[in-house]
Symmetry: D2
Subunit: 352 residues, 4 copies
Amino acid sequence: MNGMMKAIQKTRREPGLDLVDVPIPSIRPDEVLLKVSATALCGSDVHFYNWDEFAQKRISPPITLGHEFCGEIVEVGSQVLDHRAGDYITADSHIVCGKCDICRMGLQHICQNLKIFGNDVAGSFAQYVAVPQTSIWPLSRDVPAEIGAIMEPLGGATQGVLIEPVTSRSVVIFGDGPIALFAVGVARAAGARKVSLIGKVPSRLEIARRMGAQATYTPEDDPVQQILDETHGIGVDVVIEMAGAPQSVKSAFEVVRKGGRVTTFGLTPKPIEFDLNFAVTLRQVTVRGVAGRHMWDTWKQLDGLLASGRLDPTPVITHRIPLEDCEQGFKWMTTGTRDTGKIVMFPNGMPG
Amino acid sequence: MNGMMKAIQKTRREPGLDLVDVPIPSIRPDEVLLKVSATALCGSDVHFYNWDEFAQKRISPPITLGHEFCGEIVEVGSQVLDHRAGDYITADSHIVCGKCDICRMGLQHICQNLKIFGNDVAGSFAQYVAVPQTSIWPLSRDVPAEIGAIMEPLGGATQGVLIEPVTSRSVVIFGDGPIALFAVGVARAAGARKVSLIGKVPSRLEIARRMGAQATYTPEDDPVQQILDETHGIGVDVVIEMAGAPQSVKSAFEVVRKGGRVTTFGLTPKPIEFDLNFAVTLRQVTVRGVAGRHMWDTWKQLDGLLASGRLDPTPVITHRIPLEDCEQGFKWMTTGTRDTGKIVMFPNGMPG
Amino acid sequence: MNGMMKAIQKTRREPGLDLVDVPIPSIRPDEVLLKVSATALCGSDVHFYNWDEFAQKRISPPITLGHEFCGEIVEVGSQVLDHRAGDYITADSHIVCGKCDICRMGLQHICQNLKIFGNDVAGSFAQYVAVPQTSIWPLSRDVPAEIGAIMEPLGGATQGVLIEPVTSRSVVIFGDGPIALFAVGVARAAGARKVSLIGKVPSRLEIARRMGAQATYTPEDDPVQQILDETHGIGVDVVIEMAGAPQSVKSAFEVVRKGGRVTTFGLTPKPIEFDLNFAVTLRQVTVRGVAGRHMWDTWKQLDGLLASGRLDPTPVITHRIPLEDCEQGFKWMTTGTRDTGKIVMFPNGMPG
Amino acid sequence: MNGMMKAIQKTRREPGLDLVDVPIPSIRPDEVLLKVSATALCGSDVHFYNWDEFAQKRISPPITLGHEFCGEIVEVGSQVLDHRAGDYITADSHIVCGKCDICRMGLQHICQNLKIFGNDVAGSFAQYVAVPQTSIWPLSRDVPAEIGAIMEPLGGATQGVLIEPVTSRSVVIFGDGPIALFAVGVARAAGARKVSLIGKVPSRLEIARRMGAQATYTPEDDPVQQILDETHGIGVDVVIEMAGAPQSVKSAFEVVRKGGRVTTFGLTPKPIEFDLNFAVTLRQVTVRGVAGRHMWDTWKQLDGLLASGRLDPTPVITHRIPLEDCEQGFKWMTTGTRDTGKIVMFPNGMPG
């Protein structure tokens, strides 16, 4: 498709973003062109906005950002046989080779040749995005665009929580970002015994409670002691670490019981000091690193959770804005009271 | 404790039951004496009531029946260090040796030297019952006696459903006995995508819906075809067979998808004709036989489900009666419209 | 590639096979053309040779048979980017869609749209065969062609044995076909406690012992009783049923211990009478149907077993013949003393 | 049994050990008295010998050391029904309550109320030791006493390696202590693709090769680079960290592949700096802490490995000494060329 479109790009090697007019992407034979209905801001995009050390190593401007999105197919490559113009889809943010050893073991999401939208190829903060057919996940028309746009992070929360069963188990989640808030909903939908969340922003703790958390704490509440007291000093079955702060990692291993599981999902700003003996070895703890979503078993799980009627991520969506307000979105996320859950943009017009 | 008590015994090698006065059991050093608060009628007791072939092989009258119960400890053997008079407890119906190869693998519930209350030793259809300390599960005082009495069958449903994860998976349950109805509640609490139940008695299908089943069918509804249609011919992820009828076993394997799981829990009256190729081998199906409850991991899971607030078994309890009405209970279960869920007796007086 | 080639086809709807001259297959853009180095006869091909009821439903003559093979790529379709002429490869016999629900769960080998070489598309009993790139498994040049040709059935044995861990566990295998003999080697390589095999043909039992079986039995030896005696009446941890006879299925469940695992792999000629209560439910047995090989985790496992130096399938290969002797091969398999393990053909000339 | 016996005790709060005459232990009703045939020195005992910070916190002199042993029962408590005088047994070093939440989950080996021989109660560096019946593992008479004495650490190696399957997987072991050397044998017996060990003492690397290691490295060999090169930069499937050095922990996570498993078993002298993002989270690594042996599933596994004929720990036993030479044993372990594998003592006389 010829023509120009609006996009949010990182054009300069310095903090900030630019709203630019660029050509609509042309597609390869194995890709589709998607007209983006909705696309969401991710915490990892903040690095690019801030142009920190991580960003400087990770991306090469100019590049269109964005990797959480849904939309309608408007053009189909010659090798794409299973999708048609008019189809409503979302996509994993991971573009995988399908051929490396890791892919062939069924771990496509951590492919040796992984590319990510908005990091390695043009992303979804735009009116159109080119999507390889191997990344497509079809959506039903009754999924609102704002939900379609957040399936990717919701899938991350799903793998983080469900990588081992949580039904009937006590669960503590560290962090108050959108994925931690989604994780509360996933754990509750899965029948966890009790779900507690530790976070900092009061409005986000309120969202956590709306998502089903039976208890929320700030670090000032001495949550480790409270949780240990409540469990007679034993600790909880499952801990999901989604804050990435050195202190929360430490606390995560203090509240998990002997033989319990810690999922690490949050990224720490730098290496941490870690008492491996106590945290893991002597108490026979299992640590499960989680990056992304199994393609496609996690997506199938997410589909089942939504179909069950037990998981509604809507309370986490706090802002719905046009593409033009993108930079404002990042300001809300990073400054002031930070009263943000998930921010969703609508590059081709706000929903009616 | 000296004295006499009332008990429901099988005294004669013929159909029927007897309400008798017998001595209160004396306890061994590793047992406690329990004053029975509540005890429930089980489908397996019907064999003894009817004195069918199974019963004739299984038990030797005279014997006090009953294996689902809870109560208060009134006397403690000299080797029992962790329980006291006044403690409120329930018990697994399985009395295990703890020493055989199977027990040492962590499969105590299928111990090589298994004994069962009301089958091999005096049971709980009585005012008092002797309980080995290794079968005790402590109860919180806020669990009503009628719930304490059904923890054992509820635990059977829990293992049947949760022996492999069901969160986000589609589940079909065959059968409308109390354990099938409990299984609906467990599957829903665990976040199954959709729970369907196939049964015969209309009032029990109504209970299934109250327990959370999104769909119920009678065999006349051609449920296999309906479920296959709804799943685009693929079938469902998980099937729990709790009816034990040859036709329901056949249907169970017709509705499970390739690579799916069937739990067999119901007992068939005799060997069945079985197309192993289609049912299991060619479609790579997993079959998990389930007998009893893991001691004690299943109990821990059940505890977690109840604590989650997502599982309430109360709708399944349809009758609350004194010990004297026991025979009437079995008549309700086996004749007429069979509008029974679980029947609970109170041998030491109805609750206030 | 233009020209004619020799092939073994089923041309007529009656017993027998034909050696014919047919055009070399033309390939689609996503396929490669393989010059077949070696190809092996499978028990399932016997149905086609005999033209029994199964065969009449399964295939439509004329069709080139054969689904176990290896060879050298001589031509590459335009969409094939990862393989080149000259590459030495084998292939899974399963051609999968990669897009159905079952494939997306990671169960490609039981794909809803499964096609099989020599059943649905032209097979490998020929000088050349067209192979879709999604079925290719690269081979190292130091794998002899006769081993390359049997990777597929060896992979079946690998999944059959390793679908749950067997290290340190006692294993009994029913059947004396090539896959059962391979399974002995896999179980021994994996460190099973003891591997026993029950079969009928004395020369095959001898091969089983060369593959590492510590005990072999014929049905006349009353193996069930012997194995139960040896295990103090408890039975063995793992049973692999690869004979498909009603009696061997029955015996399989008689020798497995409580809580043990039975893999069903052999196909029974018709439905069997099955005591589900004893076999599965009351003793909490797990049954794992196995069909094919996980793509590609099982192949990866097989690769590791061969690399370990602990698995050598060579003793199972009893006959090496030219394509022209194919019909003779089936006669050896089905008549007389049946002293066959695996029969391998070399369509482009016997190895030097 | 009355009388005096020889024992190695920690009597003083300073480095060193004492050979003392003390009364033979009296037993409780649930214990047996064991005449110790053989008992082995453990690396953890070195802390007590050295009287380091760990030791000062862990034990209260006077105490008889030793927790790896076997022997013959000479006296049986009144509640012990399943063992007799004359029985030949070994024992887990862990004395467990069997009643806490952790025990009831089947994790007795990390019991909330754990006691350890030679740490919390009198140990086996003596002619006699009292053993609770719940810690007993019966031995066959054809197990030599020196093997009976090392079942406990061999069981630790077994759980360390087999906590997730290693069959067909590539395995790297860090450390050259006896348990690391045992782990080589376990991994090879289980059919690992390739087993490599990284250690410092040349004579121990030689033992590793005799136990089946296909490759051994010293830190000077740059093993991380060599292993990555050999695996095309991907890394290995399984890493077992048994050295406990900060550098080896770091290296362990550098050689494990994406989605692979690291078992931590070695204890680090103090907290380490840890790049959790790279080590675990971003590459979706699983970390399994291992402490002790599952009671009794690991013992059952060990029994199966020994019965398979594929595991012979004998090469690891380098010294066989009388009880009187105990202090000399610790000197060999801690000074000079440290050419020690396992050192076994015979408190009631050297084997004939």
